[in-house]
């Protein structure tokens, strides 16, 4: 094979291999609900396949060192097969998850596909590099363009293509590119039945990618989300895909972000399916919350409630995925957020925004987060709490989700002298504060969202609310009790990464909703 052709095949092989890794990561991360080990385990399976493939190629080269035509034929076969299987892996995993819902088992499917990809690099070296004194230099060049292709694959696919097209469209483009890369060694095969057969295979492979994308990828996210609960009638009414991730909305108004339950469209207390009483309770802790920061937008329900607090003057929301903003026009309960002059939405990583805006101070800071997905520690560790503390005004309160993690609760209770758990949220502060059910009741009675009161004016008896508040009272825990209950646990630090690597569920919670 000519040197320029070897370099081009090495580049395209790198591009395709990294692009598939990114697409597969999206699928497995969605299936795992963003569990931290997903990346490491996928990488392990991926590299194991590469190791196997390169070993296989080494054996082929050792057994028949001079049979160049056969090496070219192997190269064509591996490229074609790898790209068809790499493409099919995505819908296959989605379907398999509906039968046996353990994503880490299906990671094994990555191994044979990357084995085929892994055989490409040694074969290209064998075909394109003469075994002379300059071999190291030529191997270095091929390695460089292979890595360059990987870089373009990583950035081009992960940053650009996934921001513009759906997963199925991007998978189709990558499969086309991979199949096209097989054309170079195919063209250099000797004329004959072998070449015709492989050209026919290439056409078949392109047909699979072209005509298979739509039927194979239908209900992909529904299958990955609902897993064994999946039925063909259970479909998402809205799906937003961009480089930051995937957002899905059910007909019932439940929102999933990257496969993880992310809330529901509701700001009312009468049918409090998303426990927004926690929002009102948090707001009632501060005597006069004027300037509030909310990290994590999701359905906008919490932001909507906060922004309608009678004393709120400004609400800053930091959200990493701008796709959430596209949900609001079609959902009345959050629609006015986009036009509310009190609300300012910043699209950024929460911790990075906090670090970059050291002078912003708030009466109340609220953080929406699960405790175990990848990088959750960045907002839950002792170091993160120190950063958050610096953004509190005197008397300011930090109120954040612990999603029931005792370690996260202990970290908060030890980092601040005053702490209170309200259901699965924790309020902490350097200044004393108290929870009073009467203050919460008065606040709710005065609440109007988009001019609609929480308590209807003609509703003289609201015993339902009193019962709700009484139930809430049972789920409140003081700092001393938190520390006593969690005495044997370590706190969460940036270095130990909290519960990310230890408490992730094999099956994302609330998949059945």
């Amino acid at each position: 094979m000519r040197r320029s052709a070897s370099l081009l095949v090495a580049f395209l092989a790198g591009f395709v291999a990294l692009s598939y890794e990114i697409l597969w990561f999206r699928v497995f991360a969605f299936a795992s609900g963003g569990a931290a080990p997903t990346f490491a385990l996928l990488l392990g399976a991926y590299l194991l396949g590469l190791a196997w493939g390169s070993r296989l190629a080494a054996r082929i080269c050792a057994r028949m060192p001079e049979q160049v035509a056969r090496h070219r034929a192997f190269l064509v076969d591996y490229l074609l097969l790898a790209n068809v299987l790499g493409f099919l892996l995505i819908p296959a995993v989605a379907r398999l998850m509906t039968i046996f819902p353990y994503w880490n088992v299906w990671l094994c499917l990555v191994i044979p596909v990357t084995a085929l990809l892994g055989a490409v690099y040694p074969l290209v070296n064998h075909l394109g590099v003469p075994a002379d004194a300059r071999v190291g230099r030529h191997v270095g060049h091929l390695y460089f363009v292979n890595i360059l292709g990987s870089t373009v694959g990583s950035v081009g696919t992960g940053f650009y293509l996934l921001d513009r097209w759906s997963l199925s469209q991007v998978a189709m483009v990558i499969a086309f590119t991979g199949i096209a890369s097989a054309m170079l060694p195919l063209a250099s095969l000797p004329r004959g039945r072998g070449r015709v057969f492989r050209a026919a295979l290439a056409i078949a492979a392109i047909s699979v990618a072209l005509f298979g994308a739509r039927p194979l990828f239908v209900h992909l996210y529904e299958r990955l989300q609902y897993q064994t609960y999946y039925t063909p009638t259970r479909v998402f009414v809205q799906t937003i895909e961009n480089r930051a991730g995937v957002i899905n909305v059910t007909a019932g108004g439940v929102v999933y972000g990257g496969g993880l339950y992310d809330g529901q469209f509701n700001t009312g207390l009468k049918n409090d399916k998303n426990d927004v009483i926690r929002t009102y309770a948090g707001l009632s802790l501060h005597p006069a919350p004027r300037d509030v920061l909310l990290v994590g937008l999701s359905t906008g329900s919490w932001a909507q409630i906060i922004s309608h607090h009678p004393q709120i003057e400004a609400l800053t929301v930091v959200e990493i995925n701008r796709g959430y903003l596209r949900l609001f026009p079609s959902h009345p309960s959050s629609r006015s957020l986009l036009t509310n002059p009190k609300v300012r939405i910043e699209i950024d990583d929460g911790r990075r925004w906090l670090v970059r805006n050291p002078n912003r101070r708030f009466d109340l800071v609220m953080v929406h987060i699960w405790h175990w997905p990848a990088n959750a520690t960045n907002l839950l560790s002792r170091e993160a709490l120190d950063i958050l503390r610096a953004h509190l005004k005197p008397g300011g309160i930090l109120y954040y989700s612990t999603t029931g993690s005792a370690r996260v609760q202990r970290t908060g209770a030890l980092s601040f002298p005053h702490a209170l758990r309200i259901m699965n949220w924790l309020a902490v502060s350097d200044a004393p504060f108290v929870y009073r059910s009467q203050a919460l009741l008065r606040l709710i009675e005065s609440y109007r969202i988009d001019e609609v009161p929480q308590i209807a004016p003609d509703e003289s008896n609201h015993s339902w609310l009193l019962k709700r508040i009484a139930r809430l009272q049972e789920q409140i825990e003081a700092r001393k009790e938190i520390l006593s209950r969690t005495a044997d646990l370590d706190i969460v630090t940036d270095d130990n990464m909290g519960t990310e690597w230890t408490e992730y569920p094999l099956w994302p919670p609330l998949a059945a909703n």
Binding site: L50, A131, G136, G140, Y143, F144, T151, R352, M497
Partner: protein
């Protein structure tokens, strides 16, 4: 027992010894490259994680950090290739020294990254890329240089590029695969970021010590 005279028997014994020595040599270098792969993936997982903590997990930060890694490896492969054809450069010695360099950097790496993070708090766009690139430039350059160097070492006697590169790539990648699984299942949960990076650095130092000792004892190539 060393051969004292030149006769057919002793020549046969000498060739067998050399063949055995070659196999041992190959096994040692392949094992070293396997463990080098284990260490490399531990660094990659922990350093990426540390850089995401500093620069955020927004997609542009992720892309920039990954690109910085890749570019360092790519430039390293060019440098390794260029080094391998220089007269007087012993590939195995260079590999041993590179592993020692990666290990020494490993010990100070997290501290350095956090220091760079403090100095670049307000970094945006290509400033993030620049800071990430600077943080990982030296070790990724060194890591990238190892495959071309060892390829030169193995291809010279075997004259088979595909077999040599394939075996080397396979050993290194297999090490990385096991390192990634171990990181995801055990190491990061038990050791945290600092512990995992220290373990990787110790692996590099042990690999370097073995290779340099072998080089000192076996100056045949």
């Amino acid at each position: 027992m060393p051969s004292l005279g030149v006769n057919l028997d002793t020549v046969a014994i000498g060739e067998a010894d050399i063949a055995r020595s070659g196999r041992l040599d190959r096994m040692l270098v392949m094992s070293a490259f396997f463990f080098s792969g284990v260490a490399a993936i531990l660094y990659q997982i922990v350093w990426q994680r540390a850089l995401f903590t500093i620069f955020g997990t927004a997609s542009e930060s992720v892309a920039l950090v990954v690109t910085a890694f890749m570019l360092g490896l790519g430039l390293g492969s060019l440098a390794g290739g260029a080094l391998s054809i220089r007269a007087g450069v012993k590939p195995l010695l260079a590999f041993g020294l590179i592993e020692a360099g990666i290990g020494l950097f490993g010990f100070v790496s997290l501290g350095l990254m956090r220091w760079i993070g403090l100095k670049t708090v307000t970094a945006t766009g290509f400033q993030i890329w620049g800071a990430s690139f600077l943080s990982v430039l030296l070790p990724t350059l060194l890591m990238g240089a190892t495959l071309p160097l060892l390829s030169a070492y193995f291809v010279r006697p075997s004259k088979n590029v595909g077999a040599s590169v394939g075996d080397l790539y396979s050993a290194n990648t297999l090490g990385s695969a096991l390192g990634a699984v171990a990181a995801g299942q055990v190491l990061l949960a038990r050791l945290g970021e600092t512990g995992a990076v220290r373990l990787a650095a110790v692996i590099n130092i042990v690999v370097a010590a073995c290779i340099l000792a072998r080089q000192a004892l076996e100056p045949r190539r």
